[in-house]
């Protein structure tokens, strides 16, 4: 599992990945070995039965259809465009080597989009999320225009 060992054996980037994979496998083995094979205790029942579905809260509130449409819009196209805008700003507005700009721009998109997706699906007010993402997409899109070829 040792990172230094695997970095020496397989190279720094490969070794770090191998080390992480081994940690995950060891952890799974420990979890399985730690399995509680006895019947459940009273605390377990109490904790479990008190849990109510968060999804039910969101779907039960009034205006469900409108919120579902807004949520889908925000998590999908708006989050994509809002992530794409800053990505394009990095490509057009920085002086790094071309490959760095293109790939780091794509990394911004890959981080921003899922984060915006989580927010869109978590909030009870998806209209705010949609507006915020729309503004980010619009502002960054306008800012990219003078930088485009």
């Amino acid at each position: 599992v040792s990172y230094p060992f695997w970095s020496r054996a397989a190279g720094v980037d490969s070794g770090a990945t191998v080390g992480t994979v081994l940690i995950m496998l060891v952890a799974i083995i420990i979890v399985l070995a730690n399995g509680d094979w006895r019947s459940k205790g009273p605390e377990r029942v109490a904790r479990a039965s008190s849990v109510k579905s968060a999804l039910e809260d969101q779907t039960a509130a009034p205006g469900r259809t409108r919120r579902t449409v807004l949520r889908t819009l925000a998590a999908g196209p708006l989050a994509f465009l809002a992530g794409l805008g800053p990505a394009l700003l990095i490509i057009g507005g920085t002086r790094w080597p071309e490959a760095d700009r293109i790939i780091l721009g794509s990394c911004v998109l890959l981080v921003f989009w899922p984060a915006a997706m989580v927010w869109s699906c978590a909030t009870s007010k998806p209209q705010r999320c949609a507006v915020a993402l729309g503004v980010i997409a619009l502002v960054s899109g306008v800012a990219v225009v003078p930088l485009s070829g």
Binding site: I28, A99, S106
Partner: protein, 500 residues
């Protein structure tokens, strides 16, 4: 003073809601992508397994490559855009020459051996990266699924208020929902680095074309070749003017001489047999996650440059490292097996995630019987349909995509009508065990002793492992079937007594 590291309750609930919405909206497609991806980790071995009779060697004679390339070009009625020569690697120790239309393995003297026929592996890989959909559509869809999976990993981790406290807690004997919750939470938390790596690199690969089109449209006047010039080697535009086919033997020997630590993986001749032809040699760079390095030579065999995938700009290295990180092909077969184990864990996480929602609904008095039937059928029917398609390919070379989708549609149609989910699940597991073992038997009948050589044995062992796992799960499920049968008998008896 004791440090408090507790997430606010409302925040956790909203993250849980987000996690549920995302998971339920994409579960079936994500499961398809993950099951096919788990099996596709072995794709070099699957290619060898499909043709275990092909002679293998870890070495090759460069002069034989020129003989094979000339023969491959001569048999084409229309001049190909590329001529691809696969060189022996640790994963696939075979030489093959291919154009867009035809492909053959190559004997040590350069003569053609068997035609290349990896149709089932290609189907499996296309199912994984494009869900069998054509063109950019499928790739982009799977890329978006990767984005959603990343979002689910983030929201799932944030929805865990007791992530450290429960890190090794694993209660499997409690009520079914709590058992499913523990399996889901423990596996997902501990394999989250793998899930994030797979999701992000998958999204990156899947969305790269769409992203490339956008970048080309905004900054390069719509020229995608210009947009990717910093990542890929550029060669001359086609001229269509005939010229003697370039000799690759000298070039390959030069690469071997100048980069002795690297191992050539393939040679691509662009625009072969024309004045615009160029040779690209791809090499495997040891101790690096980068896919490899590429060296370009022009039509006069003069060195043009390298792509910098192993030692170029940060962006190029980042890009080139995504593939091996996603496929798990960088240390050896044991790491591929580890990726398969983690992939199976991911499939279990997806299956238990939806199970938790179904059980929660049932416990709150709002059961979803149709969703329950369809989900159970999807979970066991997907590997079953893959097994059926592999069996059809081994027995009669039938198109894997048609058989797979047909089998999945049939099993889903049948599953939507059943009344006893436990019994149906048990039958699907039994069928999966039989079909998986049947693939090995059919393979052994078709290829004889070659079914157990170095090329085929790992995949046949994988099928047998799947058969054993399905049989074990069927045995575990049979107890539930018996319980369900007893319950039904008791109900019938009770009703009969009342009637009396």
């Amino acid at each position: 003073m004791k440090a408090s590291f507790k997430l606010p309750r409302d925040f956790v609930r909203s993250m849980l809601g987000s996690h549920s919405i995302l998971g339920l909206s994409v579960a079936a497609l994500l499961y398809l992508v993950c099951v096919s991806g788990t099996l596709a980790v072995f794709y070099p071995n699957l290619e060898r397994w499909e043709q275990p009779q092909v002679a293998e060697s870890s070495t090759f004679d460069p002069a034989a490559l020129d003989v094979a390339a000339a023969a491959a070009l001569a048999r084409e009625s229309k001049r190909p855009e590329h001529l691809f020569i696969a060189l022996p690697t640790d994963d696939v120790p075979r030489v093959a020459v291919e154009t867009e239309e035809n492909g053959n393995f190559v004997r040590p003297d350069g003569a053609f051996a068997e035609p290349v026929d990896h149709e089932w592996t290609h189907f499996l890989v296309e199912l994984h990266y494009a869900l069998s959909l054509p063109g950019v559509l499928g790739l982009a869809l799977v890329g978006i699924i990767g984005i959603m999976m990343t979002a689910m990993v983030i929201s799932g981790l944030l929805a865990h208020p007791n992530i450290f406290k429960d890190a090794f807690s694993f209660r499997v004997r409690g009520p079914r929902r709590l058992q499913q919750v523990d399996i889901h939470n423990r596996l997902s938390v501990w394999t989250s680095p793998f899930q994030l790596a797979i999701a992000l690199t998958g999204a990156f690969i899947g969305l790269s074309q769409v992203y490339g089109f956008v970048v080309a449209g905004v900054f390069f006047g719509g020229d995608t070749t210009a947009a990717t010039r910093s990542l890929f080697l550029q060669h001359d535009k086609p001229t269509g003017i005939e010229a003697p086919l370039i000799k690759v033997a000298d070039i390959v020997e030069r690469v071997q001489r100048e980069h002795p630590q690297e191992r050539p993986m393939f040679v691509t001749i662009h625009e072969p047999g024309t004045t615009a032809q160029a040779v690209e040699v791809g090499t495997r760079v040891p101790r690096r996650l980068a896919w490899g390095e590429f060296y370009l030579y022009d039509s006069q065999s003069r060195y043009v440059g390298d792509a910098g995938w192993a030692d170029g700009d940060l962006g190029v290295q980042l890009y080139s490292s995504t593939f091996r990180l996603h496929f798990g092909h960088f240390v050896g077969m044991w790491l591929q097996v580890a990726y398969i184990v983690l992939g199976v864990a991911l499939c279990i996480v997806i299956a238990t995630g939806v199970n938790i929602w179904l059980l929660r609904r049932a416990q709150s008095g709002r059961p979803a019987p149709i969703a329950q039937r369809l989900w159970t059928t999807t979970v066991w029917g997907t590997p079953l349909a893959l097994g059926v398609s592999a069996l059809a390919d081994v027995i009669a070379d039938i198109n894997g995509a048609i058989v797979f989708w047909l089998a999945l549609a049939l099993v889903l149609a049948a599953g939507s009508r059943i009344s006893d989910v436990a019994r149906w699940s048990y039958r699907l597991r039994c069928a999966l065990a039989v079909v998986s073992a049947g693939v090995v038997v059919a393979h052994a009948i078709r290829f004889g002793a070659d079914a157990f050589n170095e090329a085929a044995l790992p995949v046949n062992l994988l099928w047998l492992a799947l058969a054993c796992a399905a049989a074990a799960m069927a045995l575990a499920g049979s107890a539930k079937v018996v319980a369900s049968e007893l319950e039904r008998s008791a109900r019938v008896g009770e009703s009969a007594l009342k009637n009396l």
